[in-house]
Symmetry: C3
Subunit: 139 residues, 3 copies
């Protein structure tokens, strides 16, 4: 069994953004030399997500509005967590909806994807350097 | 390390439905000959889910009502994504709540499940052929 | 390839609680002797979750309030599932939001975590003995 590990670093200038990281994960997979196995991609921070969906601008605007409805950022005082001096309680909840991680099959040296699957980094508390972990195991 | 891959195809005649696919995944596992490892089951489409919960009709009606409350299908014009000519923005959000994938332990040649765990395909934009991927690695 | 399996048992005296189980999972990993691979941790019950987030009391109070808003426990009669004699339909929905499972990378014999990642058992229908599965594969 082979295993491969890489950290991807991001610094999003806004508070929230969705970044397509598919090409970076594909590049990790090529570097790993693994042909058959599983590829885990997870946010290493608890106010960010890794998820799979569509690279369509309108949908991303819908996600932003929808997450603000389900877990509004403001008023910051609505959240007990923000009494610790943080203002990012909503980011913990938004990341919960979107998910921490994905596991993707690796088949014949490629990410084994359906027609529209793309990997996104979901940042919900940006403006600082944060990391995603790529771990691939297989042969 | 062994690896196994199979696509399961579905064509749901309605827009939305929950299908119990546990027996089909168990059949994949038998075919794989893998006794110890991990089994990934994921929707290959971004308007569908694979998730684990109870095979109880009342609960499935609750899911339908609850998802319609969290991410209503209509009005279609409420979503930017639908300006592309689609009408399925809600399906992308519903699938986000329900999840893209599950990873199940394989122990002694069986899916290592608690007493009520059943695997479902969650279709949120049906009436066409769509796929689920089963990937099993182990020994 | 090595594989390791362990069940962790919990009996939460309240209906709902979030328990930090990171140390127990780390102890499993040490016992497994696995240095590189993947660690799956999943609830074996469909009214409970395993998820990763912050061990901060205020945030946990926010989760409780937020989940009660998204999927209120009462009135029990609001849910078809509860016509079966159950009163825990809300727990199935809360667990759906929080997730069934996590997959964590194992690197150099440790859980490969970012700075604040902690593993939680989320109980949404307690007052009875329930289980979490830890399955680790690798070398």
């Amino acid at each position: 069994m082979k295993s491969y590990r890489k950290e991807l670093w991001f610094e999003v200038p806004q508070r929230r953004a969705l970044l397509n990281i598919t090409a970076q994960v594909e590049s990790c997979l090529r570097e790993s030399g693994i042909r058959e196995g599983l590829c885990l991609v997870n946010a290493m921070h608890i106010t960010a997500s890794v998820f799979i969906n569509d690279d369509e601008r309108g949908l991303h605007a819908d996600y932003e509005r929808w997450l603000e409805k389900l877990a509004p950022e403001k008023p910051h005082s609505a959240y007990d967590h923000n009494r610790t001096g943080e203002d990012n309680a909503d980011a913990h909840l938004k990341r919960t909806v979107m998910g921490r991680e994905i596991v993707v099959a690796v088949t014949a040296g490629a990410l084994d994807f359906g027609p529209w699957e793309q990997i996104f980094y979901g940042e919900f508390d940006g403006r600082r350097r944060k990391r995603v972990l790529v771990k691939i195991i297989g042969e």
